[in-house]
Every structure is written in C-alpha cells, then in structure tokens.
Symmetry: C2
Subunit: 374 residues, 2 copies
C-alpha cells in the first residue's frame, strides 16, 4: 500500500508529519549546479545514478543541467524512470532471469536502454530476450577494476565477451562498465587515488585492445561521488555515474577531503517520549533509517561531548537521543532533522520526498522506484 | 509506487523473481500452532505484534488460533489492520502530533483501539483529539521496566498518570504497557530471566498500587518472542505481545536456548554474476535485507569453513557469497534462500509475501503496512 504524503505544499516544516524524508531544495539544487559545473569543465559526461534518488523528477532536474541520461541497478528502476519519461537509461548491472529480461527488452520500445554482462551465458539470455521481443539490446561488458564483485577480468576476457556481443544480430556492443564501488568510501584521498589509478589503467588497456579488434566503446562508464574527479581527469572514462552527490550523507562526509556537496537529504523526526535524565526517544528507528554506515547525525547540533545532542541508540521504531547536563535539551514534540548514515537505502524506505525551502513545504515528489528490487 | 508481485500462484519456487520475500507456509503455520498451544497452557492471552508482519491476513490467522487482537507501533500500521478488518488493536507506543492523533481517534469508529502515554502532555493531547472526534480513547500507561527508552517510572509516577487518564471524560484507562525490549535478545537464558524478573516486580508493584487507588488494569501487556514464557508464568502479565515467533530470524536463532520456532521467512535471491575464485554475487543487498543484526545466513548450506557457502559481504544491491575449494559452488542463475538477520525491518522493504508449500507458490499476500512509519 502506498503511504499517504506526510505533508502538503504550503505547510511549515514543523507541521510535517514524521518520520518524513525531507529534501532541502536550496542545498539540493546547489549540489546539482555544482556537479554540472565540475563535469562541464572535463571531457566527460554525467550519467547520474538513479539508484540513489529513484525519481524521474530528480532525473529530469539532473538532465536539465546537462546529464546525458540515468543509470539504474535494477530492471524495476529502469521501468519507473522510462515510464516517467526518461529517454536514456543504462542498467549498470547484470540482469539474470527470463522474466526480468523480457521486461527490460520491452522498455526499449520507449527509451534507449543499455545493460551489462559478465558471462557468455548472460549474453545468450539477453540475445534470446531481444529476439523474442523483436528489439536490439545495447550491452556493455562489465570489467572488474578492483572491487571483486561482478565483472570479467580486464583485457582478453573482456574482449572475447565484447566480440560475442558484437557478433549477435540482436545485440549491440555498447562499451565498458568499469565502476570501482569500494573506492568511493576509502577514507584518505591517497587511497582513492591509488585505487582509481589502477582502475583507469585496467580500463585503458581494455579499451585499447577492443579498438585493435575494431570495437569502439561508445560508453566507458564508472565513477561515483567519492572519486568522479579522478575518472573525469583520466581521459579514459567518458561517462561519470555519480549518484549520492545530490543528497550527500554522513558516511561520505567522513571521507578525508569529502566531496564538495552539502547535506540536502534529511529524515525529519519527532521527540515522542518525555525527555529525562539527559535522554529522549524519537520516532525514527531502523525502519526509517539505514544504519549500515552508522547512526544518523542530529543536524544543527554538535556532538554530546561538545554540549550538543547525539543520536546514540536505535531500535525498530525508536531512536535514542542523549545529551550532557547543561545542554539545550530537545522538548517533547520537537522536530529535528537527522542526516542519514547512508542515503541510498534510506531513500528506498519512503514513498515521498517532502521538498522544503525557507521553512515551508514547496513540493511533494514520489519516490517512484521505492522498493524496485527486481 | 506499489511493486508488481514477483510470482503467481502455481509457479515453482525456482520461477519466483528475485529478490522476493518468501514465506514457507508449513513452517509458518507450525509456528502459529506452537505459540497458540504454549499460550493456551498459561493464564495469559496472546496479542501478537503486527510490527513484525504488517499484514491483516497474518493477523487473522493468529486470531483464528486464539490471539485476542494485535499490537502495532504506529498509527499508520493500525490503519492498515483496521481497514483490513482487525477488530482490536493496541498501539504499544506513544503517539505525538495532532495529525496522527486525529487519524487514531477516527479509527475507533471501526475498531477497538488503545494507545500508550508516558507524559501528562500526551494525555492532554489524546484528550483533545478524542473530544474533537467525539470518541472515547483507551489509554494505557507505559512504564519503563528496564530498557530506558520510553515509559514513566513504575510506581507513583505511573499511578499519577493513570489517575489523570481515568479522570478524563474523553479517555478510558486501559492498563499498563510494560515491555522489556532489550531483554529479548540477551544471549543467555539467565540474563533474560533476571531482566524479566525485575520487570515483573516493577509491574506487580505498579498494578497493586493502582488497585489500591481503585484502578484495575484490563491489560497488563509486554513480552516478546525471546521472553514470553517468563512473563506468561508471572501471574502479573495478562497479554503477551510476541511478534517475531511467526517468522524467526538469524538473530533470535543466536539466543542461548532459542525460542522454539522454525525459520519460515526467507529472502529468495539469484546468483547474478559468474562465480569465480570461490565467490559469487547475488541480487539481494542492503535494500533487500536488514543488516542491523548481522548478515543473512544461506539456508540449507553450512558455513564456508564447514564446506558450505557463506553470505560474507553486502552492498546496496549485491551480496557476496564465498566458499572454500571443493565446496559445491552455486551456479550462475541459481536461486538460494537467505535467512534474514532481523525479520521486522526486512519485511518492511517488501510489498508482497510469496507463500510457498511443497516447492510451489500457493498464495500472495500484500505487506499492507509496508512503510507505515507514521
């Protein structure tokens, strides 16, 4: 069941029902503008990753600033974007299973669609799905440039798979997918530089070997919010797939030399139990916040040891705030903004973005691909 | 947007699209039966907690076996149950905010509704909402019996709040809410015994003091899947609020002397990238599984060190399986059942339960209160 929106346009922020997913529109738009400027200064294109925002509305705002399309991880996400009018979508992931492949092939009737493969069996399945649907599917070869998750080995293995794709009547070879996910959250700039230097070399070598076999890579894609400046400067990658930059989160903010973007995404929460003994309960817990990258921060307050308020404990529907004696204690019923530890899986819990500006609700946008796991 | 069901009745389990929330109906029904038997042997009643299952269908199956009603944590959960025909619902939580209280009061027109309070300001707000709606609201006093999250102190503070409720023309005093959440996952039976013994004494004393002031507790509620036998045997608690027993999860299974229920809830996942070097990627990651209580287990396989397969790493849309040389490696496209680390927040990611029996899909049930955070 779709949940009703927790607010209406025109309301004051403190009237928004909680927990709610709040988008600070000034900070959000500034993030979009900043990324557009940074990418324009390079030879690369932005294909923003919608696994973060799951919204055709946000996708269009990114594309109005120059993004050439969107990335997704799942077929169901691609559907939500294509149905919402996004014309160019790349599934930066392998897709396995006949039902999913039929859905993917069907989408090529209304949008430019690409997908990745890292095994001949997947290529055969993509071929069968494209043939059955009477379409031609664009397929990229994913190479493993370090994370050790998906992807064939760079070099000859990738070339063999690309040749298999290019030889198919029902497929088109679309290029290389070369994303180093683990590098995004490496804490020092030097670790990230070394990791991406390795990814760039693997990718450069593979692009060159493909070229020698007559295969040009229309897309050489990768990069995220933590490293995109490195891939952009490589001269090898031509598409940057950053997603989190539009929102930021507590984990990205912990990177050394963090990405140059502001927190724009918050979970609004209410103090729901009477504060006592330097502690209070709020109404946003494990179901409202992803905690894989740590607990949220209380926005606008310093840490408890610095006289502020911390979010120090979590259970299914509750969070525990704590503060030292003498701190300005939150009041029963008070609403607070929390900065999620990890933006992507937090967004995925909500049906609605509540866009706020100047203390007022300006807009509601559906999280159209919420729960789009397939 | 509601996601389409990942299966249809009659399909084989291996045809179900993934990730999917799978309910093994034989194990699930055996859990319901076992709990009904165990509770029937005590003087207490079961009021099962719907924050686990979020489904009026499952609520009705519990009530057909003797449960007297349902618990929820959120007003939006109470709506999903009441709209689905559940006649008796207790919000085992404080509710703060005028919009939520108006929604709660409206529900009393179609169901017996109760709610908790732990502060006079909440009682005043409940009173105003009940008066505005022209209804009488049942209010329980929550006492803190150990977890230190919500609730007034047992004894005189609780009595004073109960008297405040009982004196209102628009409210009814409904009893005590005395849940020790933290005790559910204490690892040794002795720790749990000591924690609940303390909770029982606090509760017994408060019930007695209320009685001396002429206030009877129709409901003395608490207990969860980890401790319900202790509260049931106390002679003080008359309603048990266990929820997870119907599904179980990897975390409850780690309790010493774990609850006597079987794993019935699984996330079905597909091996989506070519296995190599003793590892493979599956399509269920952080968005498909709650990891606050640890990574999932691979069902039917021993740990990697015992010749089996482990789920050892997770990212937003991927999990990493690992196995030792010589183990039976999962194949590309193979589907595996995972036991979630924590059932409640895992269920909350999905729109559909896929009920399976004997290798076939028997039914689809909506997770009606999915995302019901308010």
């Amino acid at each position: 069941m779709l949940q009703p929106p927790p607010a209406e346009p025109g309301m004051r922020e403190d009237e928004v029902d909680t927990p709610a997913l709040l988008l600070d529109l000034d900070a959000f738009e500034a993030n979009l503008d900043r990324m557009a400027e940074m990418v324009a200064a390079t030879g690369a294109r932005l294909r923003a990753h919608a696994k973060t925002h799951k919204s055709p509305v946000i996708a269009r705002l990114q594309m109005a600033r120059g993004a050439v399309g969107q990335c997704v991880q799942k077929v169901a996400e691609a559907e939500a974007l294509a149905w919402g009018g996004i014309p160019d979508i790349l599934v930066t992931n392998e897709v396995v299973g006949a039902r999913k492949l039929a859905r993917l092939a069907a989408l090529t009737r209304i949008a430019e669609i690409g997908v990745c493969a890292d095994h001949p069996a997947q290529v055969a399945a993509l071929e069968a799905a494209a043939e059955a649907a009477g379409v031609r599917l664009k397929v990229l070869v994913e190479i493993d440039v370090g994370p050790g998750r998906c992807g064939v080995r760079p070099g000859p293995e990738a070339v063999a798979l690309a040749e298999r794709i290019a030889a198919s009547r029902h497929l088109r070879f679309g290029g290389l997918q070369a994303y180093h996910g683990r590098a995004q959250h490496m804490r020092t700039p030097e670790e990230r530089r070394v990791a991406i230097a390795g990814a760039v070399e693997d990718t450069r070598r593979t692009v060159e070997q493909l070229r020698q076999r007559g295969l040009e890579c229309a897309i050489v894609g990768g990069a995220g919010t933590g490293t995109f400046a490195l891939e952009a400067a490589s001269g090898v990658y031509n598409e940057l797939q950053a997603g989190s930059y539009c929102f930021m989160d507590a984990d990205y903010a912990r990177n050394g030399e963090p990405p140059p973007f502001a927190h724009s995404l918050f979970v609004l929460t209410t103090v729901m139990s009477a504060p006592r003994d330097g502690a209070a309960a709020v109404d946003a817990g494990l179901k409202a916040l992803a905690v894989d990258s740590g607990l949220p921060l209380v926005w606008g307050r310093s840490a408890p040891e610095a006289g502020g308020v911390g979010y120090v404990g979590i259970s299914d529907e509750h969070g525990t705030l704590r503060w030292e004696a003498g701190a300005a204690a939150p009041a029963l019923g008070e609403k607070l903004r929390l900065v999620p530890g990890h933006c992507d899986p937090t967004v995925d819990r909500y049906d609605w973005y509540v866009g706020v500006r100047g203390g007022r609700v300006e807009c509601l946008w559906p999280v159209a691909a919420r729960g789009a796991m397939q």
